[in-house]
Symmetry: C2
Amino acid sequence: MGTIGIVGGMGPMAGLRVARLIVEHTVAERDQDHPNLVVVSNPAGIVDRSEFLTNRADINPAIGIADSLARLAAAGVSVAGLACNSAHAEPIFAATLSLLKTQRIDIELLHMIDLTVEEVSRRLGAGSRVGILGTLGTIQADLYGERLRKRGFETLTLPTHADLVAIHDVVYCPIRGVKANSKRVSDWAIDTLGEAIRHLNSMGADVIILACTELPLILEQSRSNDCHQLDPSLILARALLERVAPGRWVD
Amino acid sequence: MGTIGIVGGMGPMAGLRVARLIVEHTVAERDQDHPNLVVVSNPAGIVDRSEFLTNRADINPAIGIADSLARLAAAGVSVAGLACNSAHAEPIFAATLSLLKTQRIDIELLHMIDLTVEEVSRRLGAGSRVGILGTLGTIQADLYGERLRKRGFETLTLPTHADLVAIHDVVYCPIRGVKANSKRVSDWAIDTLGEAIRHLNSMGADVIILACTELPLILEQSRSNDCHQLDPSLILARALLERVAPGRWVD
């Protein structure tokens, strides 16, 4: 049996959440029924992805991500995922793969965005409308949009720059954002995200991708039960478990 | 700055919870403000601690614990803790330290029970009554009792074997226990633990140590607010953070 690895720290709570989802969704009666799992959360070593993608930081986050993957490999990990959507933008993800190769880090790296797009294709027919909520880095990199439109989906994002900045701030604001308030998210963050979801729904979204690993942390605390949202962290968690312990995932 | 390590898997959710407590209680505005942290959760590699301590398993869990510590060290960890109370029983903890030495694993290992007993001494005067709730392994090993009585405290445990078995089952029962139901604990587990707490309170406990890392998982889901309980996982989390990032813990 292999060992699952998670590159966390982007942010720290979102990384731990992927591990938690695996534990919660594993069929188990006792500790020993659970898969082997390692989380490396070295946030200070990884440049902010959105800062890099919007040209406000020069150092590629791939360097820190590859370092975390090297640590996971040293701890015995065979297959890993990155608990961050924007880390999958081509300039970061391709550089990460390249570093794995040159540093001879032997680890299989899953691609959360590709897995999510496959899940959308399984659930919805072509022509369906897919809403996307994420940070500015993810939206500007068009991480989901390009892949989804290639498969015949229509994609929807919030219409104005102010709307997009609001969701970015829900994640990043040092006062009221999730990253700064992981123990208890602010009412403002809950309300702003809820409003954005209603907005995309009113635009006709058949499903909404929560394209930032911090956003589901808000919904968990707001007790939202909307099943029209798709959580890439959950899809990654399931794929990681399937890789080392097929058939052990329970919804 | 050092890297915090957590030996999880005993059980898996309790291990992740220690990491979560560190993230929740770190003063941080952004990802990069959080400490470096690694969790190794290799549950299948670690023999059940209670089974070993009650002579129903021959292999010392220390072997698996030392293996997890070796993986943490390989991932760059400098200071670590075990997210399991019974793993601190002398036959297991001493063997773990011995394996670290012979295998030349260079990692500082904190002692959750010693830290908790120190915390009790800070909070309460000698002669105070300390209730202890835990699995049969922890209770039979008298993990907290011996240390607390040496410092002049009176210790209280549930009076009958049936009461003790009930709390053990709250953790271990493959149908209704926490280990088998980490996503949503059973009402039976919530009720049984609540009853045990009331029982120790009625016996005059000034504080109750939740001496199994799974028990706080139940109280978190039951929304209990009793501040007369002491959570060793929280005390370990704080000590680990203080070791790598002094002054960054916020209650």
